[in-house]
């Protein structure tokens, strides 16, 4: 009896894991908070198959609560087909030395874009700004849409999430970000960055319920050439963000063991 149940459990695991990993391969990291995915008691409304709504200026309205990210645990499955990540020698050493417990996420420190948000996130559009509000860490990004450029290099204050400006290319919102510090991790495996990091994200609401995302990572201080990651987010109809005060009772960090590149997020 137990043997039969055990075999069923294995079969179920293989099926579920294969399906999920397949989705990650196509779309990068997926969100975790879609209630219906987890077999919970709350069922999200069905998403109508409809075109993306439009702003008064004719551009797609990105507003809404979304789940899904480009990559969280591991950027490699999110790579655009045919692309590779080539670390410079010093960066390779830096990554190899990183431990799971050193991951900024473990310490509830802001993720460096395009490292995604595990929980739902919301875009709020105004004529001058796009705000991306994240349930994860309760953090936000402000994207200037008023035509300004980045500050001069001498005035840059390096930060975890950088300075973002946005513009439209057709129906795609392009977010250009520089001004990063060199402490961020692109994923749970510890892919590093330098202050030369330049990220170009492209958000395209292909229909009411779907957001296609791309992020080109150009960091000549870390990688031999730029690479592009891809992902997809799904609208949560009527979805609301919840509070997540990460450092409230964080007992985990002292007990995390092992190197990030073999035991960090994305490895299990």
């Amino acid at each position: 009896m137990y043997r039969r149940l055990a075999l069923l459990a294995i079969a179920g695991t293989v099926v579920v894991t294969t399906v999920t990993i397949g989705a990650q391969g196509r779309q990068g990291g997926r969100g975790v908070a879609l209630p219906r995915r987890l077999g919970g008691e709350i069922t999200a409304p069905k998403i109508p198959d409809a075109p993306a709504p439009r702003l008064p200026n004719g551009k797609p309205d990105m507003t809404g609560a979304w789940t899904g990210s480009i990559a969280w645990g591991n950027i490699i499955p999110a790579l655009k087909p045919g692309e590779t990540v080539e670390l410079l020698p010093e960066a390779k050493k830096k990554m190899a030395a990183r431990l799971v417990k050193e991951d900024p996420a473990v310490k509830c420190i802001l993720p460096t874009p395009p490292r995604g948000a595990g929980f739902p996130w919301r875009i709020v559009m105004t004529p001058t700004h796009a705000f991306i509000l994240y349930e994860f860490w309760g953090h936000y990004r402000q994207v200037f849409l008023d035509g300004r450029g980045h500050p001069p290099q001498a005035e840059i204050n390096p930060t975890w999430m950088g300075h973002s400006i946005g513009s439209w290319q057709g129906d795609t919102l392009v977010i250009d970000t520089i001004g990063f510090n060199d402490l961020g991790w692109l994923d749970g495996r510890g892919h590093p960055v330098s202050e030369k990091l330049h990220v170009i994200e492209r958000y395209t609401r292909t229909k009411l319920g779907t957001m296609r995302m791309e992020a080109t990572v150009d960091d000549p201080g870390t990688y031999a050439k730029p690479f592009t990651l891809q992902g997809e987010a799904e609208l949560i109809p009527g979805g609301e963000l919840m509070e997540y005060s990460c450092s409230e009772n964080n007992q985990d960090a002292p007990f995390l063991e092992g190197p990030a590149d073999t035991r960090g997020q994305g490895n299990n």
Partner: protein
């Protein structure tokens, strides 16, 4: 008995892996917990922490010799638990529970909950790896 233990191990791995594939928690669960050290605990909830980044509950389990061990079990975060039918009152001090999970690598009294069954026999969503 050996077969039963094997089944429990496989079942718990299955439950955790289903969440682990999506894996967007704030830390890697296999870095903290040892997949080769499954456990099954029955006992009384002695403390419940409805906190981030993980809710936690503590179970006093009595051995056949009468010794009491307090286990510190990790759950998902309250936002994920709420979306899966929990409230902050789902577990209360004094509740009897049966829990399967895995023991922490470097804290022998800490574990991640894979499956929680309350005193009425109801299975509760638990996976912290989600």
């Amino acid at each position: 008995m050996r077969t039963k233990t094997g089944f429990i191990y496989v079942l718990v791995v299955a439950v955790l892996c289903m969440g682990g594939a999506s894996l967007l928690a704030h830390h890697s669960w296999t870095a903290q917990y040892d997949p080769t050290k499954p456990l099954e605990v029955k006992g009384m909830v002695s403390k419940f922490e409805w906190t981030n980044p993980h809710a936690r509950f503590y179970v006093d389990a009595r051995s056949t010799g009468g010794d009491v061990t307090t286990w510190n079990f990790e759950l998902a975060s309250p936002n994920i638990l709420l979306r899966n039918g929990w409230t902050r009152n789902t577990l209360k001090v004094g509740d009897q529970v049966s829990v399967t999970g895995f023991i922490a690598r470097s804290n022998p009294k800490m574990a991640i909950a894979g499956e929680v069954v309350d005193g009425t026999g109801k299975k509760l969503f638990a996976s912290s790896t989600n």
